[in-house]
Symmetry: C2
Subunit: 538 residues, 2 copies
């Protein structure tokens, strides 16, 4: 069967900041947010304009046979120059964006991708694969030799669900399908991929696959890797097509080489992915903890219990306050269960009991009806957290306009390292920010994903910036954070990918023989080095 | 902390057949088995003797510094010449075993492995990594140029659990640790790896990792891959050591390149693996089905239900009869649940209900107490199956001594392909055996592992052989089976590895760009081509 064509998004994407322009905080909101952070600017930096960038003619022109796939429009090119990291946003605000690509291509099929790669190979044009453009690690930005022409390869014209195997719960989906369009096309079948990264609305299946995105589930299988049956990948050396299999032991997994390859080995064009029935039963609760160590123990017990909560996100006191989940200095555990066939209330009750046995407090009376140490109402806190979660990137851009540093980074480590790691990040990144700006920084932490053997902490750093010098400040803080992660053997990224910003940390973490193998693989698949130069290997 | 030293196995391993010599069926048992298969020999082939092989002096000698790690004993060398496939057993029975390695090395630590590889590289000696030697796909046998010296690198002197993180439920374990010794060393901690392949007693952690072994669980995470936190791998280009992490999104997974590399990219020396609490609650039942299609639907429903049975093995009528699980022409589903913290009777009841809703019959009265169409007692059938499961390889060797073909192979495919695949294997392999021997063959099937999106069928072929020509007959049947698998896009192996016997099927299944990448990786890590030549890439 053929899928239906997805609806185009009606509202306007921002070329320089997160998401949609009509969701951006206005000047008054920015000013109000800035007032909360001592040392920020008194008024917001102006919204940057493409026309101020002075974008010239492209340095390269495609042959006539490819002209219909390619745009040289300055606004299009500006929107494809960078991802959406804080570092990217402030560069746009300061009128110094990353390298503007010469061309943006939107192939409609795999043939188009292959033709573009062939042409790029002949002309030594650098090709930067581009899905939703939500990279926060410099994954979609060219930073190589200035003389080289750059093509941004936007996959979003390949946005269809091509085939659904309802009995086997799987679908063949084009890589450029954005999250909402993907779910829309699966809904008539009662099926879902249930992969909901924070960037869901602005990221694509291909982007998730190329970056090993972390998804909806807070426990168990959450990385997109585990949902892949097979991949098609166009490389300069030919198209790789793996068999659609539930499992295999035939040699090293071909798919696992391309998962996480971030466009450096090939362009993922489609995948068969595993689906699930849409959940019909859901229940969630917010459990609060006076002490963070208690909360960590509770979360570990939950991760090891076999209860498999769909949501098990632990917010430290600062993060709970920031998201409105609690304002009493407590850490909050957002705990949720879901199932397609059975009520989950009993599971939730068992989960809450387990959390209580480690010092958690849960009170299901409405907010305000109980004493000062009662946890917030489960529902209210969960809703507050969810809404803040989706709003966060927009607020970050508002803070950036006020000259603040508003950065996030994430990692994962085994349980034995978690308490020391979190403490060291708080202390050392906080101290570095204070030293650099003269103002105290807020460093919050939440655990986004937990495993029986470890957890994935996610950090938010809020600080006054150094006016006009935000990028250097960011680079300094990032370097400090990278040092802490390395010292604690915590991965440089659990689900944000390596991109260009995490290369130093990645190079130190990656075993050298694997680096040799990866470089050799790159040489075999991309002998002219046109694919996303600077990513993963040189 | 340091682990305890494992107990050495007291009884004698067979150099030519499965397992221990004192478990082998004697001549009378072999004769009785042979009588069940028309066309087999009247009396068993004699048990082969090492001294009849005329094993000469090794063609190569190690330097004095490595001499203490190396054995040139003919019995040792004969025992390391091949794995334990039917093909290997009949070659030994016919006095034509595979290439006898010149030397067997047993390094006691990683330094020893590295030193041996360095020496082998200088002398161009082929190195065949060897764990428990239970390969059934020609994985531990050298089949290259006759002039080349061959070293069998036996890892079993590295058989210790080195470290246990009880809180984080993980352990650092040497690759040469055999299954029973591994579990023995974890038992004091109340933890288990719970990886129980049929070869458990005679295979090692390193072997499981190098071949992506399938384990205990019939649903969900069963491949050893999913239990790996980190690996250490000695390659000729250096030692790869990945960080111990619960999860990571930093580039393609380094571990996944070595998992399934079958000794062709490096020698796995140790791993941090994820453990579980030992289950305290278990319950199982045998459900019978008159029709195999009903049984398939029931198993698919169970795999998609979220009930996550630990055991969910479906035996077709022939397999059920062979194992004693049923003798009434019914297919039998062996269904089991287990948990470390909660009783599982309610889960089992739900599982049985689901199976019943697809035509399954379950009767918990004792065998013989009910009508002819009642299912066997759950417990009795489960015990019968389990015991036959472990005994099967010994019986296979007994049949081989009677000149029979007794071969097994396994695969995996998505649900849409499963019915046609199983039917085609039965028909085409059965027809090929009949044509080749003039006697009807038995082709049985069981599903060893099931997934929401597919299943892993395991086939047993029993037929009279062609006296003196068993290898050629086996090769013919294997080729027919390989064709059927390829036509149905079923993997050449779900958990037996590729080895040398599955290379033709593997080469056709593997995407060509991945083959290019793998060859390049091999060239980078093993530039002199000493590691397990002929495996995965040339």
């Amino acid at each position: 069967m053929n899928g239906t064509t997805p609806q185009p998004t009606a509202r306007t994407r921002s070329w320089w900041g997160w998401g949609r322009t009509d969701e951006h905080p206005d000047d008054a909101e920015c000013t109000a947010m800035g007032a909360l952070l001592p040392g920020t600017l008194g008024r917001p930096l102006p919204v940057p304009r493409v026309r101020d960038l002075g974008i010239g003619s492209p340095a390269v022109e495609p042959p006539g046979s490819l002209a219909h796939l390619v745009s040289a429009d300055p606004a299009d090119r500006a929107a494809h120059a960078m991802g959406k990291a804080y570092r990217d946003v402030v560069r746009a605000l300061r009128g110094r964006p990353g390298r503007i690509p010469d061309l943006v291509a939107r192939p409609a099929d795999e043939r188009g991708v292959a033709d573009l790669l062939e042409w790029a190979g002949e002309r030594q044009v650098a090709v930067v694969p581009y899905g939703g453009g939500s990279s926060v690690t410099g994954g979609v930005e060219y930073r190589g030799d200035a003389h080289r022409a750059v093509l941004s390869l936007d996959l979003t014209a390949m946005g269809r669900v091509l085939e659904v195997d309802a009995e086997g719960r799987a679908a063949r989906i084009q890589a450029g399908t954005l999250g909402p369009a993907l779910e829309d096309q699966l809904r008539p079948y009662g099926l879902t991929l249930r992969h909901f990264p924070q960037s869901f609305e602005f990221s694509t299946l291909g982007g998730w696959l190329a970056t090993r995105a972390g998804g909806h589930y807070a426990t168990g299988r959450t990385h997109i890797d585990d949902f892949v049956q097979s991949l098609r990948v166009v490389t300069p050396a030919g198209t790789s097509s793996s068999w659609r299999l539930p499992a295999s032991g035939a040699g090293p997994s071909p798919d696992r080489l391309f998962l996480g390859s971030e466009g450096a080995l090939g362009v993922i064009t489609e995948a068969w992915v595993r689906l699930q029935e849409r959940p019909r039963h859901k229940a969630s609760a917010a459990v609060s903890f006076t002490g963070f160590p208690d909360a960590l123990r509770a979360v570990r017990a939950l991760a090891q219990s076999g209860l498999s909560p769909a949501n098990c996100r632990l917010l430290d006191a600062g993060e709970a306050a920031l998201s409105g989940a609690a304002r009493d200095g407590c850490a909050v555990l957002v705990l949720g269960f879901e199932s397609a066939d059975e009520p989950v209330d009993a599971l939730l009750a068992r989960g809450v009991d387990l959390a209580r046995s480690h010092g958690g407090r849960y009170d299901d009376t409405p907010v305000g009806a109980s004493g000062p140490h009662a946890a917030p109402s489960g529902d209210a806190a969960v809703v507050a957290w969810r809404s803040a979660f989706l709003r966060m990137p927009y607020l970050r851009d508002g803070l950036a306009r006020m000259g603040a540093v508003a950065e996030t980074f994430e990692t994962a480590a085994t349980w034995d390292r978690i308490p020391g790691l979190i403490e060291a990040v708080r202390t050392e990144v906080g101290a570095a920010a204070l030293k650099a700006t003269g103002h105290p920084a807020t460093v919050n932490c939440r655990l986004t994903h937990v495993y029986p053997d470890g957890a994935a902490p996610y950090f938010t750093v809020l600080a006054a910036g150094r006016a006009g010098d935000e990028v250097a400040l960011w680079d300094d803080l990032k370097a400090v954070a990278g040092e802490v992660l390395h010292r604690h053997r915590a991965t440089i990224t659990h689900h944000h990918a390596v991109g260009r910003d995490h290369r130093p940390g990645y190079d130190r973490q990656r075993p050298e023989p694997f680096a040799l193998a990866l470089r050799a693989a790159k040489g075999a698949l991309d002998p002219r080095g046109i694919l996303n130069p600077g990513v993963l290997v040189d």
